[in-house]
Each structure stands twice: as C-alpha cells, then as structure tokens.
C-alpha cells in the first residue's frame, strides 16, 4: 500500500497536464514553433535546402527603410482608423433604434447580422458585384439616383481604399451594433428617468447617460478593432489584391508578396516580427489600461 501512495500522488499531480496536453501540443506545433522560427528567420537570409546565412539586423533595416512597406503601413493605418471609427459611430446610432426584445426587432437584428457571419471571401464576391464599375452596377445605379456619375470603385486607384473601407464597415457594423444593444440593455433605466425629470432633452440624455454607460463597450470595440485591423489580409487579397497600381497594398499583402512571390522569407519574417511587436505593444498598453480601471 505504501508504494502506491507516491504513484497515486504523482498521477494526481499529472492529471491537469493530461487534460492540457492536446491543446499544448497543438499550440506548440502550430503557434509557438512557427513563431520562434519566424523570429530566427528574420535574422537570416533564407536560402533553400537549409543554406541560411546569418545577417544580423539586416532584414530589419531593410524592412524599416523599405518605401513600399512604409506606404503600406500608412495605408493600413488609414484603413483601420476609418473602418473602426465609421463602424463604431454607425453602430452607436443604430443601436439606439434597434433596442428592445420585440419580435420584429429581433428579426431585424438577425437579418442585419448576416454580413458578420459571412466569410471575408464571400463578402468580397458580393461587393465585387455591388461595386461593378459599369453605369448599371448596383452601387452606381444608387449613386445615379443621387445624380452622381458612375464611379470606378476598385478599378480606380484614387477610390479603391475607400471602397474597401466601405465593404469592411458593412461587415463590422452589425457586430458592433449587437454589442452596443447589449450594452444599452445594461444601463439602469432609472438614470434615464432621472434625466427626464431633470428636463434633459434626447441629446443630453444621450451624452449624459448613454455614452458613459456604453464607455466600456466603446473602448473594447475600438481598441480590439484597432489591434485586429492591422493584420487585415483576406479582405484585401480576395478583392483588389493590393491594386490597382498598389493603391490598396496593406502590410500583410505586402508581406505575403515578399514571402511567396519574391521568396524573400527573411525580409517577410522581419516585417512580420515588426508587425507582431507593434500589435503586442498596443495590446500591452490596452491590457495595462484595463487593469488600472
């Protein structure tokens, strides 16, 4: 009996690890090893057949001074800024009109949510048709009703990025709206009554009660949207592919091309590492800020 005790104890101690093993194995293989490998690659000139040469900070120097990558970073920043800002503002307004648990309200919210569960690749095909640059294209017909001439959208370098933002906002507004509707439901309705008693008008109630009540939701949506937005890839790759004339090239499409078309793995890995550090820094700031709250 005495010899069984240490064994039983060992088993008890190992139990959590048995349950964790599959997940840890999956993460190690497909997240941590690739991550470490990427880090190593960024310091090497990667050749084929195991002929890597160590080049120190060379790839990072190239990535940081690369004009195309810098332009792409600026474009990504613009893209993310406008996508997050527009989606959150539109959703904030819509959420006011879509509160409640009435049956028709739930129907509208459900129907409205479809873009959010549609894959980026399918959304890309939907918008390729809506954005047809011909005068009888769907969006162009609507613009025609407003007296505007046909636009080129993704065919026009001066509009392509804005058109991409439009598609992304369409896909994100429903998600943000649902979060805000839930946030609104959590606001104590007595606050509205109190404000009404004090003679506050609709706008004052919005700024004095609704906005502060939704502040946590707004922060989460904006920060996470901002952090996640920097890695935008599918939305661009499946639509414009970075064109026309490079006008929609973002960081990830640029990295993808450097890696898989130019086969410059070292450069692509260094740029990825920079993107990761940037995202991680933003995340750390966000988490630190949240902990302080």
């Amino acid at each position: 009996m005495t010899s069984r005790r240490p064994f039983a104890q060992l088993m008890t101690r190992l139990t959590p690890w048995f349950f964790l093993a599959p997940a840890l194995l999956a993460f190690t293989w497909f997240k941590f090893i690739p991550m470490a490998k990427g880090l190593v690659m960024s310091f090497h000139k990667v050749g084929f057949g195991g002929s890597d040469t160590f080049v120190g900070w060379h790839n990072f120097e190239r990535a940081l001074t690369d004009a195309a990558l810098r332009d792409a970073a600026g474009r990504t920043l613009l893209y993310v800024f406008f996508t997050v800002l527009l989606s959150a503002s539109i959703a904030l307004l819509l959420a006011q009109a879509l509160q409640g648990t009435a049956r028709h309200m739930r129907f509208i919210r459900t129907a409205m949510f479809l873009p959010a569960v549609t894959s980026a690749a399918v959304a890309a095909e939907i918008w390729r048709i809506l954005y047809a640059p011909t005068p009888d294209g769907v969006v162009n017909s609507l613009l025609g009703l407003l007296g505007m001439g046909p636009q080129g959208f993704w065919a026009d370098p001066s509009q392509a990025l804005a058109a991409l933002v439009g598609m992304h906002v369409w896909k994100h507004v429903p998600y943000d709206t649902v979060i805000f509707v839930a946030g609104l439901a959590g606001i104590n309705s007595e606050l509205y009554d109190a404000a009404a008693v004090d003679g506050a008008n609709a706008w004052q109630r919005f700024t004095a009660v609704t906005l502060p009540g939704l502040a946590p939701a707004i922060t989460v949506i904006c920060t996470l949207g901002f952090i996640r937005g920097f890695r935008v890839f599918t939305e661009v790759y499946a639509t414009t592919g970075g064109g026309p004339a490079g006008s929609t090239e973002v960081v990830m499409t640029q990295i993808y091309k450097q890696g898989f078309q130019e086969l410059d793995y070292g450069f692509a890995a260094a740029a990825s590492t920079l993107l990761f550090l940037f995202t991680a820094a933003l995340t750390a700031v966000y988490l630190a800020w949240r902990r302080k709250r």
């Binding site: 964790l20 991550m35 690749a121 399918v122 939907i126 369409w170």
Partner: protein
C-alpha cells in the same frame, strides 16, 4: 416609452433601409442564382426571372462546386470536433484544477490569442512542410488545414469561464462516490456545459469555415481548395455565366448562415461573452 404615430414612419423607413443594406445583397444573390435569364456581369435580381436550378446544376457538376464543398465540409467538421474536444479538455484543467504552472499556461494560451495568425504565415508554411519531430509534410492535405485551427484560445477561455461557475459541491460529491477525474469531466462537468459547448461549436464552425490564408498556404492543388479559396479560381473562368458564379457564392455562404440562424441563441451568448471579456 410612448409611441407617437408620427415617429413610426421614419422608424419603418429606417428598418427597411437596414434590411436592404445588410440583408438585401444576400437575398438578391439567392434570387439571381435561381434565375434562368442571362444577366450582365455586375447585375443582380430582386426576384427570379425564369426560375431554374440550372445554375446550381452547372455550378455543382461542371464547375465542381461539389468537390470544394466536400473539402470545406471535411475540414470544418473534423476541425470543429477536434477543436471542441481539445478546448474542453484544456478548459477543465484551467477551470477546475489548481496546479503549479497554471498561471504560465494561462498566459501562454492568452498570448496565442494576441498573436495574429497572419504574422506566422510564412514560418507556419515551412513547419507544415516538415512537421517538427514527425518530419511528415502536411502540404496538400486536409489535415494541414485542420490541425493548425485545433488549438483556439478563445474557445478554451469561453469554456473555462463557464466551467469555473459550476459549484464545487457537485464535483466533490462525485469524488466521494469514487469517480475518477475522467468520469467527473465526462459525466458531471460536460453535461452541465452544454450551452457553452454550443457557443464554442458555433464560433468554431464559422471560424474554420472562414479560413482563407491557411488553405492558401497548405495547397496549390485546386482539387483540395475549400470553397472560400476556390471562389477566386472559379471566377477566373470567363466562359462561366455570372449567375453560375453567383450560385457558387450562395453555396459558399449558406453553411455559416444556416448554422448562425439555427443556433442563434448559442451564438449570441458567445458573442457577448467574447466581447465583454475581450
């Protein structure tokens, strides 16, 4: 809240506008896919003209949509089941066990959630070409599209959050009756987690169905493409009627929409848990 008749009209107009903007394109895609008339590229129909199944037949047989759908289905079904099992195991350890290294493991899993998949695309491509330790290549296999999505921090944390709320008494009672950890996990914890498992499954399904970069990395072989990736290839065939391509897009969008509509309650629960907890 009092309802004034005057405010009803702008309300109805707003609802109509929202439905047209957000759901309209899906409706028009569906209607156009069932239409037999020749439509110009870039046009959609609100109502089927000359209703027919020909577009779907052509998409299914000639454009080989069946094969892409089969690939997607294999990947998404096997992927969701594996992801859900692995997540439930891990969540059990995180939620119901105290052990040395708990904080470190939690941190590691959290860090994978912060790591954008796109950032490791190129090294992942290399790792998939020669799996460490095993040395096998997962390029050009369904498994290569499945295994990388099996570990998902979001799913683990959602489940462990839920499991943590289960009263300890239930577990203690089972332990006094001589139940093993495995029996407790299987007979006590899992049945109580059904709602959370539902949410995790819906999210997992949609997440895996949406994968784009991963299948692109794993294979160049068109016959292995999943539906989202195949769309671009199919579109490149200029001899195909626009309505056929629209029919393929409908096939590609329907599964996640149906899963969402069918399991909406689970979906919304997970959505809010994920958003609030960040």
């Amino acid at each position: 809240m009092t309802r004034h008749p005057a405010s009803l009209i702008p309300r109805v107009l707003l609802y109509g506008l929202l439905l047209i903007v957000f759901a309209g394109p899906f409706w028009a895609f569906l209607m156009t896919a069932f239409s037999g008339v020749t439509i110009a590229p870039g046009r959609l129909l609100w109502w089927p003209e000359q209703p027919t199944l020909e577009n779907f037949r052509y998409a299914w047989v000639e454009a080989k949509a069946w094969r892409y759908l089969l690939n997607s289905t294999i990947v998404v079904l096997v992927g969701t089941v594996l992801q859900l099992s692995v997540s439930a195991f891990a969540a059990y350890a995180l939620a119901r066990k105290r052990f040395r290294g708990l904080a470190l493991v939690s941190f590691l899993i959290l860090s994978t959630m912060m790591l954008p998949d796109e950032v490791i695309a190129i090294p992942l491509f290399i790792v998939l070409g020669k799996l460490p330790l095993l040395g096998v290549s997962l390029h050009d296999t369904h498994l290569g599209m499945i295994l990388p999505v099996v570990g998902w921090g979001f799913s683990i944390f959602m489940l462990s959050e839920f499991m943590r709320a289960i009263p300890a008494d239930l577990e203690e009672a089972a332990r006094v009756d001589g139940a093993s950890d495995w029996q407790i996990f299987w007979h006590v914890i899992l049945p109580l987690c059904r709602p959370a498992l539902g949410s995790a499954a819906v999210f997992g399904f949609i997440m895996i169905w949406d994968q784009y970069l991963l299948p692109l990395l794993v294979t160049n072989d068109e016959s292995l493409y999943t539906l989202p990736v195949a769309l671009a290839t199919v579109r490149a065939d200029e001899t195909m009627k626009p309505a056929v391509f629209i029919a393929i897009s409908v096939i590609a969008m329907l599964p996640s929409i149906l899963v969402y509509l069918g399991l909406q309650r689970s979906f919304n629960r997970g959505l809010l848990a994920g958003a609030v907890k960040g």
